[in-house]
């Protein structure tokens, strides 16, 4: 299919796969170097992993609601002799694997991998990524990661998975005697982590190169959609933070396999073994780990912020309120993100003076976040609000991000963090940010860009139902966690109720679990909608949302090489409801400047505004 062929559009709708080129099925759909296929592959994989991670979470929730009861389905198989009750170490394994899967196999790849891949070339007007083969490899490195995580979990039959929490603090993760899952499974887990890291790294190099070098003519940096800014900043974050985690991972592997002593101090007697001979420092791991993993929180958030900005502007038919402050605040979040990792360690016994500096820098990171929230509200302000699924998910994103951001204030302030550290308060906080914000953003983005991916729209009714159930289930599950945290309910407790001061919280946990089940079932609607819409969804043209971005000027789905007409960019991506034209309320980035002469006054205002928006 020739890139410039005007007839490409006709073929673009079909998935015939036997077009003009002799690309076999495998090269086209499996080991494809086409960024769109890779993006969709990432999306499918991450949605699958989302179900896996969610199932693990339900296991956790079940134990908290009905401790030591027969676990449905799994329990009777795995723990038949014990009456189907999960064992405490299995609980810690569930906790660990839930977090690992959700963070490393769902949220990071769904944003950077799925949407980054699919959107970056389309939005900057490139025909593919800068390094298509590298791009393909970045997807296929996910599978070893999934394989190793799976191996870690199923090694020796479900009961010796890593049980150190996703943070894998040594000594627990360094000595095989220390915990049931600290044997070989922990090494597999670290291998999986390394593969995820390699995959991310390949992606991030590719994204940076593509964004810097392959923009369409006229696409200046400040004409880039915020999605691209989000992806760009994320890529930079990953490129700088990931090596530290990878190094730390190798150090831990070396510690475990080769007997280095980076993290284990001497004289520890674990599980009746001989005293350790180390000389290492457990806090070293925490520093290295959080040096990556705190920026990783923004890796898990910034692209979603960008995508929500794009979707929001298109839905309310309004330019983004304060485009440049949005960009600067994203950059500020990323910059500050590198110097706040210590707030995870306020109670760890590091130098108290560090606690103070980290407190101030952490507080300051709330500032750009606040600016972003205000700007989103400003974007809606005066806009035309029509609640379709995309809009609902975007508003939910903002709303949940406010909750998650504000509850972070308690964590940022050291004295209150002394109390809240490692309680459910923090669980509530990061689920609001990562699930509430990021995943609602992703759900919106799936609905929004689905037509571009497959040429059909997703079902609205099912989308709304999914949103409603997810939103109710989500808040029902995670909002009470704030209360649990205030009540001093610690994380990762298999049976908190043996502590009398938590006994009375069991009914609340039951309520939360029922909400979680509701939320889990709601995701089946998403999956069903995703699959069935591929066959039954309403067929749409190039620009179903009447949006401005470059991707909407390509066919739906775009053929190989993306654009049938090489795009030339004349303006920023948010010129909705522009007074320059009358017949429609959007002005695409590729549209030639309107020929109709405009009144002088209007021209001034719009050019001023445009100047502010476009630099």
């Amino acid at each position: 299919m020739s890139t410039l062929s005007p007839t490409a559009d006709v073929h673009g709708h079909g998935h015939e796969g036997h077009g003009h080129h002799d690309i076999g099925f495998i090269r086209k759909y499996v080991f494809s170097t086409d960024h769109k296929v890779i993006g969709i592959q990432f999306l499918m994989t991450t949605l699958l992993m989302l179900l896996v991670g969610g199932a693990l979470a339900l296991g956790v929730r079940f134990q908290l609601a009905w401790p030591w009861r027969t676990v449905p389905i799994v329990g009777e198989i795995v723990f038949s002799g014990e009456g189907g009750t999960m064992s405490p170490e299995f609980y810690t394994m569930l906790v660990t694997m839930h977090a690992s899967v959700m963070i490393f196999l769902v949220i990071i790849p769904i944003l950077a991998g799925a949407f980054g891949n699919f959107l970056i070339p389309l939005m900057v007007g490139a025909d593919d990524m800068a390094f298509p083969v590298l791009n393909m490899l970045s997807y296929w490195f996910m599978w070893p990661a999934i394989f190793f995580f799976g191996l870690a979990f199923f090694w020796s039959g479900l009961d010796a998975a890593p049980a150190q929490g996703w943070t894998s603090y040594p000594v627990l993760s360094a000595l095989k005697e220390a915990a049931p899952g600290a044997g070989i499974a922990q090494t597999w887990w670290l291998m999986g982590l390394t593969f995820v890291g390699v995959s991310s790294m390949m992606g991030s190099v590719n994204y940076m190169t593509t964004i810097i070098n392959m923009r369409a003519p006229g696409m200046t940096l400040f004409r880039m959609p915020l999605t691209i800014w989000g992806m760009f900043i994320t890529a930079i974050l990953q490129a700088f933070a990931l090596p530290v985690l990878t190094a730390a991972g190798f150090m831990l592997v070396a510690e475990r396999v080769l007997g280095f002593n980076f993290f284990v101090p001497g004289g520890l007697i674990v599980n009746d073994s001989d005293p350790t001979v180390g000389g290492g420092q457990p806090l070293l791991w925490q520093h290295l780990f959080w040096f990556y993993s705190h920026p990783a929180v923004y890796i898990m958030l910034l692209p979603a912020m960008g995508m929500v900005s794009d979707m929001l502007a298109a839905q309310v038919r309004k330019p983004i309120f304060g485009y440049k402050p949005m960009v600067y605040s994203m950059a500020a979040i990323a910059g500050l993100g590198f110097i706040v990792w210590g707030h995870h360690m306020f109670t760890s016994g590091m130098n108290p003076a560090l606690g103070m500096t980290f407190m101030i820098s952490t507080m300051m990171i709330a500032l750009p976040s606040a600016v972003k929230v205000f700007n989103w509200i400003g974007t809606i302000w005066g806009g035309k609000v029509r609640f379709n699924t995309v809009m609902l998910n975007c508003v939910a994103f903002i709303s949940m991000f406010i909750v998650g951001g504000l509850s972070g204030i308690w964590m940022a302030s050291v004295p209150t963090d002394i109390y809240f550290h490692d309680t459910y308060f923090i669980v509530a906080h990061f689920h609001y940010v990562l699930f509430g914000a990021t995943l609602f953003g992703c759900f919106g983005a799936i609905q929004y860009w689905y037509p571009k991916m497959f040429g059909r729209k997703m079902n609205e009714t099912a989308g709304k139902l999914h949103f409603l159930l997810t939103f109710i289930g989500f808040n029902g599950t995670f909002f009470p966690m704030h209360m649990l945290g205030i009540a001093g309910f610690p994380r990762r407790y298999a049976d908190p109720y043996i502590h009398p001061y938590m006994e009375h919280l069991m009914p609340m946990n039951r309520f939360m679990t029922l909400c979680a089940i509701l939320m889990g079932l709601a995701q089946l609607i998403l999956i069903g909608n995703f699959i069935l819409s591929y066959f039954t969804g309403e067929k749409v043209g190039r620009n179903p949302w009447q949006a401005n971005g470059l991707e909407w000027s390509a066919p739906s789905p775009p053929g190989h090489g993306n654009f049938d007409i090489p795009p030339v960019v004349y303006r920023g991506p948010y010129e909705y409801s522009s007074p320059l034209i009358d017949d429609r309320d959007y002005l695409m980035q590729t549209d030639l400047p309107p020929k109709r002469p405009v009144e002088k006054e209007q021209d001034n205002t719009s050019s001023n505004d445009a100047a502010e928006g476009q630099g």
Binding site: W66, W68, R69, T70, V71, P72, G75, E82, G83, G84, T85, R510, L514
Partner: protein, 285 residues
């Protein structure tokens, strides 16, 4: 909603309702499931079978026959394997005492010149109902040159016997009974004491010294004296028994089936012989 959808939805809901009793939010099972307590009435669950008597291990009712001794020879068929000594001369722990003059042999399979197997236990599970022989005088259990003597020891339950340590080093006597109480006490150099076993056993028990790991003996504890251990030529002799048919166990520590080489049914009619030859396959080697 289409009629079709409705048609599918309804059975779906019905299925949920069937599968999951929503009224019962609290799932059962697991450790918090209910338990009830019942009281045991009567002392056994055994269901009496038709036949009575003649059961395993019991003395078979005496039909006829004159009283007599049970004598015989137990042999190892074929060429016995050569077992290395447990400790060679001069190389044992506490060399001043242990294996000072000779190797410490592995006594777990001692075959005499004629194939006679030593340290085989021959015993009746149950005493015959009448005419019990007198209890033999209690033996003495010695520890000499870091070897337990005798390697096959016979004892009557609750009858005290002497234990001696003839060595200049400390030993301990650690018993491994299946039914009775474990004993594990130290014997200081050149000392003696007494001990007894509190319960009769079904089979010989191991006795070990934890200080000298090669030291090992086997003791058979019964309530009656109808037991014997073979000598170096494999010969044994049981005390006189009333005439009748008995179940006789032949047991050796290396017997492949829990040590039991055979459970022989023997009819005593005057002095009766019980000769057996066991192939290597009957032993754990």
């Amino acid at each position: 909603m289409t009629r079709f959808t409705f048609a599918v939805l309804l059975p779906g809901i019905a299925l949920i309702a069937m599968g999951c009793d929503l009224n019962k939010v609290d799932p059962g099972g697991g450790i918090s499931s209910d338990s009830v307590v019942t009281i045991r009435n009567g002392s056994s669950a055994a269901t009496p079978a038709g036949g009575d008597g003649g059961g395993g291990g019991t003395a078979v009712a005496a039909a006829s026959g004159a009283p007599g001794k049970l004598i015989g020879t137990i042999k190892f068929a074929g060429t016995p394997p050569v077992l290395p000594p447990k400790a060679t001369k001069g190389n044992a722990k506490d060399p001043a005492v242990c294996a000072k003059d000779a190797d410490i042999p592995d006594e777990s399979l001692l075959v005499g010149a004629n194939g006679g197997l030593r340290h085989v236990f021959i015993y009746l599970d149950k005493a015959p109902g009448e005419g019990t022989a007198e209890l033999p005088p209690a033996g003495e259990f010695d520890q000499k040159a870091c070897i337990f003597t005798s390697h096959s020891f016979l004892a009557i339950a609750e009858v005290e016997f002497g234990v001696k340590n003839s060595d200049a080093v400390a030993h301990n006597v650690h018993t491994f009974p299946a039914l009775g109480a474990v004993q594990n006490f130290g014997m200081e150099p050149n000392s003696s004491t007494t001990m007894s076993f509190n319960k009769a056993e079904k089979a010989p028990m191991q006795i070990k010294c934890d200080i000298h790991p090669w030291m090992e003996a086997w003791a058979l504890v019964l309530e009656h004296p109808y037991m014997a251990a073979t000598d170096e030529n494999g010969n044994f002799e049981l005390p006189e028994l009333p005439g009748g048919t008995y179940n006789v166990r032949i047991w050796h520590e290396r017997g492949a089936k829990n040590g039991q080489l055979e459970r022989a049914k023997v009819t005593i009619n005057g002095e009766t012989r019980l000769d057996r030859e066991f192939p290597a396959g009957d032993f754990k080697l």
